[in-house]
Structures are given as C-alpha cells and as structure tokens.
Amino acid sequence: ITVRDALNSALDEEMSADPSVFLMGEEVGEYQGAYKITKGLLDKYGPDRVLDTPITEAGFTGIGVGAAYQGLRPVIEFMTFNFSMQAIDHIINSAAKSNYMSAGQINVPIVFRGPNGAAAGVGAQHSQCYAAWFAHVPGLKVLAPYSSEDARGLLKAAIRDPDPVVFLENELLYGESFPVSDEVLDSSFALPIGKAKIEREGKDVTITAFSKMVGYALQAAEILSKEGISAEVINLRSIRPLDRAAINASVRKTNRLVTLEEGFPQHGVGAEICMSVVEESFEYLDAPIERIAGADVPMPYAANLERLAVPQIEDIVRAARRACYRALPMTATA
C-alpha cells in the first residue's frame, strides 16, 4: 500500500477505536487533506471530529493542546512543518513541558503531524527539516516513518501514546508503495516508539538514516555491495528517543559509520548520533564518523542548485567509501 493509504487507514482505525481522537488542521476536512492524507474522514466522522481550521497555527495548536489537557486526543496537522514555527511555543512550552512542570498532573496526549523536509522546487521557506529542533526537547517524542509499515505502525503508536508526539512525514514518500504483511494491516498493529529497524544487514559500514533518506541509503547500499562493501542500513524510525543501543550495536559490528539526513548539518541528528557513538563505542571505531546532510544554505529553487543542496545517492556512496578507506570505486573481490 502507499504511505498515503497507510496514514489514512491508521487515522481511520484509531478514530474508530477511540472517540476522543479528533483531527484538526487546514483543509483536513472538505478539501480531503492538502495531500489527501485525511481523505474520506470528514464524511465518515463528521465535522465535530474532523475540523477545518482557519489559517491560524498558533491559535489552533493552542486549542489542540488545551483539549489534550482535558484528556481528548487531538491529531493536529501542519500543512508542512515549516508552519509549525508559528505554533512552536505551544508545542514546546504548552505541550512538551506540561507533564514535568505539573509533576504528572497534566499530560498531553497529542500528535502533531505533517510533511517535513524538502519537497521538490518549493524553495527556502517550504523545505526545512525540523527533526533536530524538536528532538532537542525533553518531553517530546519525535517519529519519522519511512515505509508504509512505519507509517501505519508509528502513527497508531503516536495516537495511543499519552505524551506529545511530533510525527514527521515526507511529501515525496506519500505516493510510494511498499509491500505490507497481514499483521501490519491488522487494526491493532503498532510499532514500539524508540526502536530503530535494520533495513538491510551488513558488516562493513553502518549507515543511519530516517524518512526519505532511508530509501537513498538502501540504493547506496546496493551500489556499494557491487564494490564489495557490505553496508548495514538503519532506519531510525524514532529520532527522540533515539535508539542508541541499536546504533551502537551496529557500529560495534561494522566499526564504521555514516550518518545521513536531509536537514541542515550544524547541530543536526547526525551530530548527536556521532557523539553518542564516540561516548559509547569509541574503541570500536576503525575510521572517523562520516556525516552526510543537506547543504548549509537555505534551499535554493533552481533545479541544479537544489540538487546540490540535498544529499544524493552518490554522496552517500562516496562517504561510505571514505569510511572504508577506499577513495576510488573498486570491483568486488571474490
């Protein structure tokens, strides 16, 4: 099924199972969702549970958090996470910190979801990745699905979770289709929060990635395997909490690491992963950790410049080779 259908079915099933779940966001109802993720839900659940809002992120995010204080389970959609900055005070100060400041009296079972990161040709204000910003904050959980299984399992887990969850989708993945098992299609399916998935096992170098970059990493691993480098690809799934155990176990096996992300490099997810590995598995490293991230510039519009601003598969392959001390491609040896 496509990621879009995976998300839609997850929302549908969770709304059906729990009457306190409701959706709020711009164009989620009558328009059927800006990216059609909420298609059909207004007809099925009515305007009391699928609310079209005016273009007022600070207002409706605050209203959603207030409703969550009272025990409802809102799913707030940001048309893209770039607009979450208008509401970020509510995400951080009103949602993330409440359980702590009230010593457990006020928990906030809310989900903030929407597309994150670069799309295609949408320019600087519509292309930022917010994973590092939100994952910085204790009290939030930050998830980033890649496949349809991830989308279904993580969104269901997020809605059921009693804590505020930031759910970072990717617009370019919505239309991609992935095979799913019957277990994934079952309405009780959910993935655990905080556990990464080994998408591809390998023994020479570990590549960590999340969201769309997982697909790129897998393609890079295919190319690398032809050169005799066996790459292990980790789909992080959860940025906060970060599955440090899985990352470190993998690095202790392969001894080399490439961190991959789409967002800006400084203070990014890769920086945290690098530090975590240095702290826990330094003796196991045979090479410096490599980092592939978006370019340190606002996203340009021109197609050739945009291509230079976002990681490409050849960048990942090059970094993996460097980690393996192989500057030039080599043919596989028997």
């Binding site: 605050g62 207030g66 005070d89 009103s94 400041m101 006020i106």
Partner: protein
C-alpha cells in the same frame, strides 16, 4: 510513573458552592462531600480555606439579600445583567474570609521572597482577590479555569492547599507540583484548574481548547480563560477567539485589566484599551473587578451566555498593589498616590467588610478576629511548608514522559549521571 487514574467525567457530581466552607460543617462532613467529588481528593485532607469554627458570631444565614454593584455594567453588543445582585450573609462572610486569606498569603509570600526562600519569579495578586473569589461564587468545580503566572490565588480559590502552595513556592517536594513547577506553574486538575502558564497569552488558546473538550463531550460546563491587559494584544488571542466564535465554544475570556502590562500602562500598549470591545463580533462586558458581587454577577451571566451563544469577553477593572513581580517595586511607572488612592477607595476586602457591617452581619471586632485567625493559619501553613524537604534527586528525571518506555536520560555529565526513566 503512571499518573493516578483520570477521574471519569460522568461521575463528578454537580457540587454546590464550596461545601467545605459551610460554617457549621465539620471537617468530617467536608471530607465526605469531597469523596463524592473525586477519589483522589478524598485521600487528602479536605482543602479548607479556614477552620469552620471561626464563623460563630458572624452571620451564617442563607436568607437572600440584594446589593447593588458599585457601578452598572457597560456592555458591547449584548444586554448587560442587572446591577442588583442576589447574595446571602453566608456568601458575603465566606467571600471576606477567602479574600482576606488570599491577601495574607500573598503578603506572606512577599516576605518569604525577600528572605530568599522563594526564588526566581513571584507575581502577586493582592488587590485582585475579588476576581478569583467572585468567579468561584458563580461557578462549579466542573467548570474549568486557566490563567497565566499570577496564579497563587486562583489555585487557592479552586480548593488548593495552603501548605502545598507555600511548599511549591519554596521548591519543596510537598508542593502542588512537587517543587518542579514553581510560582508560575500551579495546577489542580481534580478541580479543573489548568494552571499556571509563563508565556504571556499562550493560556488563551489553551483555555479555548479546554472549552473545546467540554463541548466535544457535551458536558454543559464552561471555561474561564484569564489573561491580562498586557496579553490582550496577542495575536494568538484573536486566532483562538475567532475559532471559539466559529465553533461556539463555551469559553469566557476574562481580561484582568490591572492597567499595567509589567511596566507599560494600558494606553501606551493598546490603541484601544476598551478590552471588552476588542472581541469585535464577540460580545463583552466591563465589570468593576474590585467588587466581589459585580464579578459574581458577571460570571454567572457569562456562564449562561456562552452555553447558548459561544464566547464572551469579561473585562475586570482591577488593580494590583504590588509591582508586576517581586523584582518590580511598582513605582517607576505609577505614583504612590494612585496606589494608595485605589486602596482607599476600591479595596475589595474593605468593600465586603463595609457590607457586612452595614447590614449588621458581623461586628468590626469579629471581622478583626477572623483576620487574626487567618494570619495564624497562614503562619502555620508556612511553618509546615518549611518542614517539607527539597525533592529527592530522583525527581529530576520523573514525569518527563508518562509513557517512559525504558527511555534513557542523562545528567550534565552522562558518564556520571545516566538513568533509565522511571
């Protein structure tokens, strides 16, 4: 650690005005009443603002009595309620007690702050007591209240424990937020008091969200969403008000207009300081916020209004004697004459004292004795709060999440302090 089980909403009974204050009620009776209110509340001693025995002598009658408000209500696109307010001697005596207790508690907090037992920010409410007490007189504990950081008295009005309040201010583990919140983060969920917020204006959309949930669940209850004249210009207020009006949310926006947003006078901050009119398409009422009965009347009117018609704005014309916070002497932007003048002409406690005396419901000495007892009560509470220890170091890592799922967390030096969240 998981929170205590949420109180099932359908089981909270409609309770009359603060039964624990019924002057002939024993503490045991109050406890029995509160057990019906919520299982969690029954485990604690009933929150008493004052020992019930003090009421002897002061009239306890429930005979209705009509009093005129200080000034008539001014309104915006709605017919105002009458300025004749129905009350009882018991209600007036209770209002006097509660306001006097709040006044004494805030002044005591001032001393604790100067003694460096309270740290950081401390925003005091003295002068504004009539808003908190008048509101409580008009509503039930099933209605919700949310406010910003000047929250100590709202917490007490909702039945908050005096010892827990002082312990929280001093950062002790028996504080209402276990010492982890501080002055600006008091909450009492079982009384539908949602804090306690430090970001100016943020509580306004949150309050509209509380009302959203009340309407979603068809509870027939309302939310009082308090903010100041300083917050009244926040964009998010208008965003939330727009949605509240569109969706007919049962929310009452209460502007506690004490005329100064920190150090900025209202006429310097707002092109239009007629805050009750700022809702434009949303009706509003201007209320003398120093008059307990006017506040009560306005809140009663507002509650009935919003359940039928959607949001309304109440502008409470009130005043704070202290500066914005304990770091502000409060005299660089206003004159001492102004402060003294308000205290002389409009003090909320003095107004009710005069009513009690003129209507022969109490003698001056009885009221003075009551205030002496209140002072003792507050001193006892502070002494008890001082005995409470600082939170244990393990508290640092508690309540970051509800569902901790075996998460790791780290102290400053993660090679030294590292834990799995409880």
């Amino acid at each position: 650690s998981p929170p205590s089980a949420p109180v099932p909403r359908h089981r909270i009974p409609q309770i009359p005005l603060n039964p624990a204050r019924a002057s002939r009620a024993s503490p045991a009776m109050a406890a029995a009443i509160l057990r019906r209110l919520s299982p969690a509340a029954a485990q604690r001693a009933p929150p008493r603002l004052l020992p019930p025995t003090l009421a002897r002598g002061v009239s306890d009658s429930t005979e209705p009595l009509t009093v005129e408000t200080s000034v008539p209500f001014t309104s915006h696109i709605v017919d105002p309620p009458s300025r004749d307010v129905s009350t009882t001697p018991r209600e007036l005596a209770a209002a006097f007690r509660d306001m006097a207790l709040m006044r004494r508690a805030e002044i005591a907090a001032d001393s604790l702050y100067k003694a460096k037992l309270i740290r950081g920010f401390c925003h005091l409410y003295d002068g504004q007591e009539a808003v908190a007490v008048g509101m409580e007189a008009a509503i039930t504990r099933r209605d919700a209240i949310i406010t910003a950081y000047r929250d100590h008295c709202l917490y007490l009005a909702r039945g908050g424990d005096l010892v827990a309040a002082f312990a929280e201010l001093m950062g002790r583990v028996d504080g209402c937020s276990r010492g982890k919140g501080g002055s600006m983060h008091f909450y009492k969920k079982d009384a539908n008091f949602y804090g306690g917020h430090g970001i100016v204006g943020a509580q306004v959309p949150l309050g509209c969200g509380l009302a959203f949930a009340q309407r979603y669940r068809k509870e027939g209850t309302v939310t009082f969403d308090l903010y100041g004249d300083g917050a009244a210009n926040q964009g998010q207020l208008f965003e939330a008000l727009n949605m509240a009006a569109l969706w007919k949310l049962p929310v009452i926006l209460v502007c506690e207009n004490n005329h100064y947003g920190m150090g900025t006078a209202e006429w310097k901050a707002s092109k239009s300081p007629a805050y009750y009119k700022r809702g434009d398409y949303v009706p509003g009422l201007k209320v003398d916020g120093m008059d307990f009965l006017a506040v009560k009347q306005a809140c009663k009117f507002a509650k009935e209004h919003v359940l039928e018609n959607g949001p309304i704005i109440l502008e409470m014309d009130t005043y704070r004697y202290h500066g914005h916070s304990m770091s502000d002497p409060g005299s660089t932007y206003r004159t001492r004459d102004e402060i003294a003048g308000i205290r002389q002409e409009r003090d909320p406690i003095e107004r009710v004292r005069k009513l009690l005396l003129t209507h022969d419901l109490a003698t001056a000495q009885e009221l003075k004795d009551m205030e002496k007892e209140i002072r003792k009560e507050v001193d006892t509470a502070i002494a008890k709060a001082k005995e409470s220890p600082m939170p244990d170091t393990s508290e640092l890592f508690k309540n970051v999440y509800v569902n901790d799922c075996g998460l790791e967390s780290f102290g400053v030096d993660r090679k030294v302090v590292r834990t799995v969240l409880p």
